[in-house]
């Protein structure tokens, strides 16, 4: 105890020891201890402690200064040496910096994209408590009665709102009228659940009156320009007067819901829509749970909620968080999340490839630095100092590359936007999360690129290095070869992936969909058109360039199989479970779309019964019902009992992501809301002008808006196409960086082996035999890379293709082709340097022996 009391306090003593560490450090600390002991003896321990503490505290500024000056002195030296090295070997520096800069640029761009994808719907204050009711097959189309039922029956569910997208409406204010996309009908609670700041109006009452409308800032500006929209009366679809009760801030684009104006759902009653029924699925249901309610508990309770009210619908119900809707549109699999993974992996690959360049070039050329390492060690550097030194070199290089990368990001941002269809601005780059991300990327680069070379370079033994004699970087050459193989494996993988995506997209676009989709114009129609259809049709067909006109409720491409199925019964049904979709067509449907009949006949006006008592089904339906002779059989879909008069050959009425499902067509003019017109490919503008003039005769108050079917179909595969383009760009960059790397390595090899090449030439080797000899090493590596990655690529490709119902075969020729292309490309890269070395005059390389 007594002895312990005499001891000097450790912390201030340690601290004081830090500030003097030179020639007489021992005597220095001895002096402190002696004086401490003296004071303790004469004035007591408290005084002594106070003495040492006060000195320690007084030394803090000194210590800081000391720390900074010494570190910076050393860093200044490291920095200077690094810069000299960079400048002396400008070519290699360029390869390293360019590779890293491109890698970091790719990473930053992809990170922007990934962050944007992950940010979907996060901006809602209640984002964590908001869910959308989802059927087990991923469908979010629910009965209208569900919302009210959930709210009253389950105390965990505090707010609910239905959500029904409207498509387009005609909005008219005084003399301004616009067709506006993006209308939704919701319940008043919608404004309390979702974060939707109103610039004008009171969110508590804004949707209470059924005849009210909320406009986005953008739409309000279109309609009212600068005047105050609040309280003004709009005419909605020429029929109803609505009062503007609010203007909301333009809704962010990173949400799965997109709308420009909001209407109260009650308004739907003017269309005689039943808002409280379990019979049909036609609306989305959003719910808000009480804070911290485990969603699994609620899921367990509501799983059979629809089945209870409509026993024929066996699908279970669960709640999907709204923050996942964009990423997993079908709830449990697929969707944008796949691309998030894909792109993140790709960003990492590219960065890795760039870092491998740095590692390979630095370690291969390590012998250049061996002498420096030897001398530094001899004059007293520890290995840790050298590690620090080489690490700071890679930091300097990475910083230069990062600066360059930031410039590239600014420069390429517009291009990236057009590639991805997003709208990133440079302001985004100073957002907290993005800055943090960029720092993580840079940090990762430094670690990946810097750690191994600094360990290798600091390993040299001074004795070996300074004794003289040649040092090669041969020790690590196996490791370098492994890295080159890895680099090229990744590049080949990306190339194979790109090829596959392109082939698949092309296949989807060129695939025979079973109908003629060229030269079809379609547009929406209303009851006035339907009522006068016969007259209109005759008028239209009188034009020489209009070949067919037909009406339907939905054009072929537009069908979404999750829109709901009908239950089916037929003559001789045993116990097959068959679901069928129903289409309402017209007599000209077959000719307009160029469909072919497999059996029986299509609807015809010659048979009066066709309008009321006839179905035409597709072959898939016949197969599903296991009918041998379907013609004349009775079929009941949606409780409608009719006779089958014909079987149409299967055609793709959905996108090619889905298989052809059983379908039945009937004639019911009440459902027709689309007109499809087949025109001849000549003088299309004239034909369109004619169509518009006819349209104006019927609907003088509505503008004529039409689309071409093939455009719409092409749009369906747009996401695949965009992904394809992005993947291509990044693949080319990855390959480019890899080639930069072997370019550096091969030029170093050529440099190292100048003498060997000289001797070979003197002894009679030809230029071509030398090139063969040296490039053989690289060729072997590329071949190994191919062989290793093929099985992996095959596996990954078949996984991706499984998401398509109609898909290409993975052709082995793509593998061979890719292998050859990469091999040729890398041979070209490598031989560039080797040819130079091989054609040089041996006298130059050998004369100083």
């Amino acid at each position: 105890m007594n002895k312990n009391r005499r001891k000097i306090p450790k912390i201030p003593f340690w601290f004081l020891k830090q500030i003097y560490s030179f020639d007489s450090a021992d005597a220095y600390s001895g002096d402190i201890e002696e004086e401490f002991a003296e004071i303790q003896k004469c004035q007591g321990r408290t005084k002594a402690k106070r003495w040492i503490w006060s000195h320690a505290i007084a030394a803090i500024p000194r210590w800081g200064h000391h720390l900074v000056t010494w570190r910076t002195t050393m860093f200044k030296n490291y920095f200077k040496i690094a810069l000299r090295n960079f400048l002396r070997h400008l070519g290699y520096t360029f390869i390293n910096v360019a590779g890293l800069a491109i890698g970091i640029t790719c990473c930053i761009l992809i990170m922007l994209w990934v962050q944007d994808e992950l940010s979907f719907d996060r901006f809602h204050e209640n984002a964590d408590d908001l869910y959308v009711a989802t059927f087990s097959n991923g469908s979010k189309v629910t009965p209208t009665a569900l919302s009210g039922f959930l709210k009253t029956e389950y105390p965990e569910i505090i707010l609910t709102s239905r959500y029904s997208a409207q498509g387009r409406d005609l909005l008219k204010y005084e003399d301004t009228d616009i067709y506006q996309e993006g209308g939704v009908m919701v319940d008043p609670d919608f404004l309390n659940m979702f974060t939707l700041p109103l610039l004008k109006g009171n969110p508590e009452i804004a949707l209470d009156d059924p005849n009210s409308i909320l406009l986005s800032e953008q739409v309000a500006k279109k309609l009212f320009d600068t005047s105050d929209p609040l309280g003004q009366i709009l005419t909605y679809n020429t029929r109803v007067d609505l009062k503007v009760t609010g203007v909301f801030e333009d809704y962010p684009s990173n949400s799965h819901m997109q709308f420009q104006y909001i209407l109260p759902l009650e308004l739907a009653k003017i269309h005689n829509r039943n808002l409280n029924t379990w019979e049909v699925n036609n609306i989305r249901t959003y719910v808000q749970l009480r804070k911290n309610t485990p969603v699994e508990d609620v899921d367990a309770k509501i799983t059979d909620v629809v089945e209870r009210h409509r026993p024929q619908d066996k699908r279970s119900m669960s709640l999907q968080p709204i923050t996942r809707v964009h990423l997993n549109p079908y709830h449990h699999s697929g969707g944008a999340i796949l691309y998030v993974y894909l792109f993140s992996a790709m960003a990492f690959f590219i960065l890795l490839i760039a870092c491998i360049n740095f590692i390979n070039l630095t370690t291969a050329r390590s012998s250049n630095r061996a002498r420096e390492v030897g001398i530094r060690k001899t004059v007293g550097a520890f290995r840790s100092h050298l590690i620090r030194q080489f690490f700071s070199e890679s930091i300097v290089l990475t910083m230069i590359a990062s600066g360059l990368a930031m410039g590239l990001v600014f420069f390429f941002l517009p291009m990236f936007n057009s590639l991805t269809g997003k709208t990133f601005t440079w302001e985004l780059l100073i957002q907290q999360a993005v800055v943090a991300g960029i720092f993580v990327i840079i940090f990762l680069t430094v670690i990946l690129a810097g750690s191994y070379p600094s360990l290798v370079l600091s390993r040299f033994q001074p004795v070996n290095v300074l004794k003289g004699g040649r040092l090669t970087g041969a020790k690590g050459s196996l490791f370098r070869k492994v890295l080159v193989v890895l680099q090229f494996s990744l590049s080949i993988f990306l190339i194979l992936g790109t090829l596959m995506i392109f082939r698949q997209v092309h296949y989807l676009r060129a695939h025979d969909v079973g109908y003629d989709r060229e030269n079809i114009v379609y547009f929406g129609i209303g009851s006035r058109f339907r009522q006068n259809y016969d007259t209109i049709k005759t008028a239209l067909l009188s034009h020489s360039n209009i070949q067919n006109v037909t009406l339907t409720d939905i054009a072929p491409y537009r069908w979404q199989s999750n829109a709901g199925y009908g239950d089916v019964h037929w003559e001789g049904k045993t116990n097959q479970q068959v679901k069928m979709v129903m289409m309402n067509v017209d007599y000209d449907y077959l000719d307009t779309f160029g469909l072919t009949m497999a059996q029986g006949r299509f609807f015809s006006q010659d048979y009066s019964t066709d309008a009321s008592d006839a179905y035409v089904v597709n072959q898939a339906a016949v197969r599903a019902m296991e009918m041998d002779d379907p013609i004349g059989k009775e079929l009941k879909v949606w409780d409608l009992n009719k006779r089958i008069i014909g079987v149409v050959q299967d055609y793709h009425f959905e996108s090619l992501h889905n298989e052809i499902i059983p379908m039945a067509m009937r004639i019911d003019p009440n459902w027709h809301n689309q007109a499809c017109v087949r025109i001849s490919p000549y003088r299309i503008p004239d034909t369109l002008a004619f169509l518009e003039s006819k349209w104006k005769e019927i609907y003088p108050e509505y503008p004529f808006e039409y689309r071409f079917l093939d455009d719409t179909i092409a749009n369906q595969y747009r996401s695949e196409q965009a992904i394809g383009r992005i993947v291509t760009v990044f693949t080319i960059l990855a390959l480019f960086i890899s080639c930069l790397g072997i370019f550096g390595l091969s030029s170093y090899t050529a440099e190292q082996r100048t003498k060997e090449i000289g001797i070979r030439k003197v002894l009679g080797a030809t230029v071509s035999s030398i090139i063969r000899h040296i490039s053989k090493e690289f060729v072997v590596l590329i071949v190994i890379a191919n062989v290793i990655i093929w099985p992996l690529a095959y596996f990954a490709q078949s996984r991706w293709l499984q998401t398509f119902a109609y898909r290409i075969n993975i052709g082995w020729w793509t593998f061979i082709l890719t292998g050859i292309v990469v091999l040729v490309l890398s041979l070209l890269t490598v031989s560039w340097q080797i040819i130079r070395a091989a054609t040089a005059n041996p006298v130059d390389s050998l004369r100083y022996e």
Binding site: L16, Y20, D23, S24, G30, D31, I32, A37
Partner: protein
Amino acid sequence: MKELTKLEELVMMAIWRLKEDAYGVQIKSKVKEIGSREYFYNTLYTTFDQLARKGFITKHFGEPSAVRGGKRKVYFHITKEGRSALVNAFKRHNRIWAGIDEKSFRKEYSG
């Protein structure tokens, strides 16, 4: 000839006055006594290193002792160069202040 800074001069004089007993603790208290200000060891030792580099003092090791945590003392001695530097400093002082007595200087300065 290298000039001595004020602190160096102070430390040299302390060493000179201490003769054989010139090591850290003693020098520190001597400096405090004649310079009427306390310097801490790190300052002093930096000065020692500086003086040693200039060749004005040499050092040799003494015996370790328990009270010093088992560390040796380092004794400092003034070299020939050191002595002449001190003489120079002394002469310089005299030159600077030659012919001035404190009383009249003080009077003149305040007047």
